[in-house]
């Protein structure tokens, strides 16, 4: 008898079962912001074959599993070029995130993935990249930027412009990476804070959509990638369109409540699309066709 269907498919979980997480250990925990409600977890696979099976590209997410508490989906913040670990940045919100925030390095948890679609890497080759992000949603863009800046990848992409805003300087994530990128010739990084921070600050002041309008990156041969809270996205898209970006060239990443992450449990749909498999990355053109239920 042939191998059963369930044995053939080897993605997303142990022994071809996409519901079973890979065991990982928390190697390091970094507090990202002043409010201390954002922590980055560096996870290391316990088994080498799990690590190789977890082949991902920026844009994807994983379900992080805490046995006894539950699971939660997080965008993967590390780039596949960072081969030895996965990074997830977790905001303290509910029961699973509370359990993670209360954890110490050395704790074993689980990951199921990689899940979802990726940023459209084929389309991005040869293009200028315009990244616009606000707040906590910057996680998968850390992955994208790290990936593009890696020496083996940099030549594939044109000019990289990135605008990242937060409420205040202390709320910006990945401060080490931001400092390195500020100095790099390979990326034009602009940081912004919503209001005058009342401390020495050499970045921009203002809401992201307004700062974007001021900086006016060129739309010719460019694709925009936008990740942020819904309200920021709502005001950023018109600015990008003003600058000349076509709807197909504005790339977004959606969030939705998820459980299985593999398109079965029916929870995360927006119209006929499931955010966990048909997304989370959508173009604005695709999103406009969907019912406004997200």
């Amino acid at each position: 008898m042939n191998t059963s269907v369930s044995e053939r498919n080897a993605t997303a979980g142990r022994a071809g079962n996409p519901y079973i997480p890979y065991p990982v250990t928390i190697a390091e925990i970094t507090v990202e912001n002043e409010a201390r409600d954002l922590k980055t977890f560096k996870l290391v696979f316990e088994n080498e074959e799990d690590r190789s099976a977890f082949a991902y590209l920026p844009g994807q997410f994983a379900e992080v599993s805490v046995l006894g508490t539950g699971e939660s989906p997080f965008g993967i913040a590390s780039s596949p070029t960072e081969e030895d670990y996965l990074l997830f940045t977790v905001k303290l919100t509910g029961t699973v995130t509370a359990e993670l925030h209360a954890s110490e390095p050395g704790r074993r948890i689980g990951v199921r993935g990689p899940l979802g679609n990726t940023f459209p890497w084929d389309r991005l080759e040869g293009k200028d990249i315009v990244i616009v992000s606000g707040g906590f949603a910057f996680t998968t863009l850390r992955s994208a930027i790290t990936y593009m800046l890696a020496p083996e990848n940099r030549k594939k992409y044109g000019n990289i412009f990135a605008l990242y805003g937060a409420r205040s300087p202390g709320e910006l994530m990945y401060k080490k990476e931001l400092a390195a990128w500020k100095d790099s010739q390979d990326i034009q990084l602009h940081l912004a804070v919503d209001r005058d921070p009342g401390e020495p600050w050499d970045g921009k002041v203002g809401l992201v959509p307004n700062v974007l309008r001021e900086l006016a990156p060129k739309a010719a041969n460019a694709i925009a990638m936008v990740c942020g809270p819904p309200i920021m996205i709502r005001f950023t898209i018109p600015v990008l369109q003003e600058l000349g970006f076509a709807k197909e060239d504005i790339i977004l990443s959606l969030e939705n409540r998820m459980k299985c992450g593999i398109g079965k449990c029916g929870r995360c749909n927006v119209g006929a699309k499931y955010v966990c498999v048909d997304g989370p990355v959508f173009s604005f053109a695709e999103l406009e066709k969907l019912p406004p239920e997200y």
Binding site: R8, N9, L67, E71, N256, G266
Partner: protein
């Protein structure tokens, strides 16, 4: 051999090594419901449909995905037992075919090993309907009382009553069934139990076909909703989406109380939840039926909820069945069994929705 007859008294002998389900009364159940029961004391034939649909055999209400102890997974209880089901109605087996499609790896790229293992190890024998009820509209959704999708064998009662007969007592009083094997598994079952089967006579086959045709005509007569959804898949793809913002949704959904009875008793509804349940450090990760009708179904941890009110949630149910499933699966995710109509505490009727939008569905306008 593809067609054979078997005596009703021999049906329990079709049980294989594992489980055997047939319509009967649950021991200790004080209600009059007929259910799919494991090895019932008596197999019943005089019933419209079982209360809880066939999906519960392959997609149980509560299922253990894995067991854990502290931070380690100790067991993944993938199903191993074989299952023989006898007497599922063709609407339920057609629904099973749709669940097969959803849980297969071809659908969105991932398999559901728990469901698939059970299905691989199962043989499903459908029992054609000879007595359709007023709330049955299987023909509207592309099925019928003798539909052949999803089952391995289609059984017909020989000597069953004509629909609408004054003396329905003939239903269940015949003692022979005609089995039509529809798949390799079905044929294998007939082979394996060869001693129980006799070759079907031409007259018997004709009787069964006539009864099936009469039943189908009866369903069509009972429920003409102004549109044949099964034949209108392309129209549904074009026209259902624009109906999302239609103003009639409010009126159609006002009386919904937001319970999950329709979704739980629906043979094609399959939404589920995953939860960890522990006792100190040992526990199980389970999946359980969930419903898009519950307010918390789509609520984010942040508190944001894309569907804040009943109208939006009930609209989601109907759009999933008549639009999204058509786009994703080339099929209407409804088999016309009518359980949602009879179970609804406020008599909300999916047929009202179909009728309301029938013209819109069939219109010639082409959406962008």
């Amino acid at each position: 051999m593809d067609r054979a007859t078997i005596r009703k008294e021999d049906i329990p002998k079709l049980k294989g090594e594992g489980k055997f389900f047939a319509p009967g009364r649950k021991a200790g159940d004080a209600t009059a419901f007929v259910e799919l029961v494991e090895e019932p004391a008596e197999i019943l034939y005089e019933y419209g449909n079982v209360r809880v649909p066939l999906k519960q055999v392959f997609f149980p209400q509560t299922e253990v995905l894995c067991e854990y102890d502290f931070d380690e997974i100790t067991e993944v209880p993938l199903p191993t037992e074989s299952i023989v089901v006898f007497g599922a109605r063709p609407c339920d087996t057609r629904a099973l075919a749709q669940l097969d499609a959803v849980f297969s790896p071809e659908y969105k790229g991932h398999p559901d090993p728990y469901y698939l293992r059970r299905r691989e190890n199962s043989v499903v024998i459908a029992l054609a309907c000879s007595l359709p009820c007023g709330s049955c509209f299987c023909t509207v959704t592309g099925g019928g009382p003798a539909d052949r999708e999803g089952a391995d064998i289609l059984a017909h009662e020989l000597g069953a009553a004509e629909p609408g007969a004054a003396k329905p007592g003939a239903a269940g009083s015949g003692d022979t069934l005609l089995f039509e094997a529809l798949t390799d598994k079905g044929r294998a079952l007939l082979e394996a139990h060869g001693e129980l089967f006799a070759e079907a006579q031409a007259g018997q086959i004709e009787t069964a076909q006539k009864a099936a045709a009469a039943a189908e005509a009866k369903v069509r007569e009972l429920n003409d909703l102004g549109v044949d959804l099964g034949a209108e898949l392309d129209a549904l793809k074009r026209n259902m989406d624009p109906l999302f913002e239609d103003s009639r949704w409010s009126g159609l959904t006002d009386s919904c109380i937001g319970c999950g009875a329709c979704t739980y008793l629906c043979p094609t509804c399959y939404c589920f939840d995953i939860a960890d349940e522990s006792r100190l450090y040992k526990g199980r990760r389970i999946r359980t039926w969930d419903s898009c009708q519950f307010p918390l179904f789509t609520r984010h941890a942040s508190g944001h909820n894309p569907r804040t009110n009943k109208k939006e949630r009930l609209r989601q149910r109907f759009m999933h069945k008549f639009s999204y499933a058509v786009e994703n699966n080339e099929d209407v995710l409804c088999v016309g069994c009518g359980r949602c109509i009879t179970a609804c505490p406020v008599n909300l009727d999916i047929r009202d929705v179909i009728r309301a939008f029938a013209k819109g569905i069939q219109s010639e306008h082409v959406s962008q």
